[in-house]
Amino acid sequence: MSLATEGADLSGPATAGPSRARLEPSIAGVEDYIELMKPRVMSLVVFTAFVGLLIAPVHVHPVIGFASLLCIAIGAGASGALNMWYDADVDAVMKRTHDRPVPKGRILPGEALAFGMTLAVGSVVVLGLVANWAAASLLAFTIFFYVVVYTIWLKRWTPQNIVIGGAAGAFPPMIGWAAATGGIGAESLLLFLIIFFWTPPHFWALALYRTDDYARARIPMLPVVSGRAETQRQIMLYSLLLVPVGAAPWLLGYAGVLFGGTALAAGFLFVVLAWRVMRPSDLKSGERAAMRLFAFSILYLFLLFAVLLIDSRLSAHFGIGYAG
């Protein structure tokens, strides 16, 4: 028995699907299948993988690069579909997710599972054939980690779910790098670490805003289990860690001062916003501060990776920017 199903009222939308399975034709639209792939998450995955692919010290033919990114995007979509298949009971009782296609019954759980598995196998095999099997193995492991380790195991079991599970979201730049080089480099490990340390404050800021939602779904997110004060403290701790980790590519000589300056400035702003989350005057202002941090965290990641890409292009074309 999972935490999420205990006590959760599933008599509504979540059970609408199976009855349709036997009697009615599918009512799923194309947009439902697109939603199943979590396109917003996919955009971040594609962008970070794109940066990993382009900063690698190996030239990749544009067609091979495009096909590799497409495979990584489809792999991310597969993860999203399999996550929605397994989490339909949780999604049904959360405000943020109750409109998703599976809990609403527009797509049956079996259809989501088949769709996700097809995309997962297809994306891994094609990436192996198009790029190399190191990148394909990493993509397969990422899908496994997100679906089995995070969704099925950690999410309903421990408040550390998104700390460990965050690794799944941190792999894409490594996959992009591996698609270009066929291996794992120190630079790609740094990109992994940036996303890994970025994930906890990003998700805990959202969880502070959605504490009731997670509590209703019986998901042991940190604010539900340990309270707001401990979550705010942990957000600050990870935000402080993120500053040196974010600037690490520059500190270790893999990126230039443009990146270093941006990473330090953005990291400083991250800490300031985390401080505001930690010191709210009341609950409402605390929630506003949490949402501001959540929104900024997305911008932070896009900014760091975008500047890293620009920095590496400048270095490649003009031989400037590198500290080492």
Binding site: L23, E24, P25, S26, I27, V30, Y33, A67, L70
Partner: protein, 55 residues
Amino acid sequence: MDEQMHENGVVLTKEQLRRRRARSIAIALSLGALVVLFYVITIVKIGPNVLTRPM
């Protein structure tokens, strides 16, 4: 549900027909795009050697 049943089986509503058509078109477009992509990848990876085969 009952109103959908017909003596010849299930009769789809206009909305169900529209959505099935949309799904079919999406699948066709995806398959077409994959055919083109695989063709281009083959040319890029193998190039003129595609004609060089051990007899």
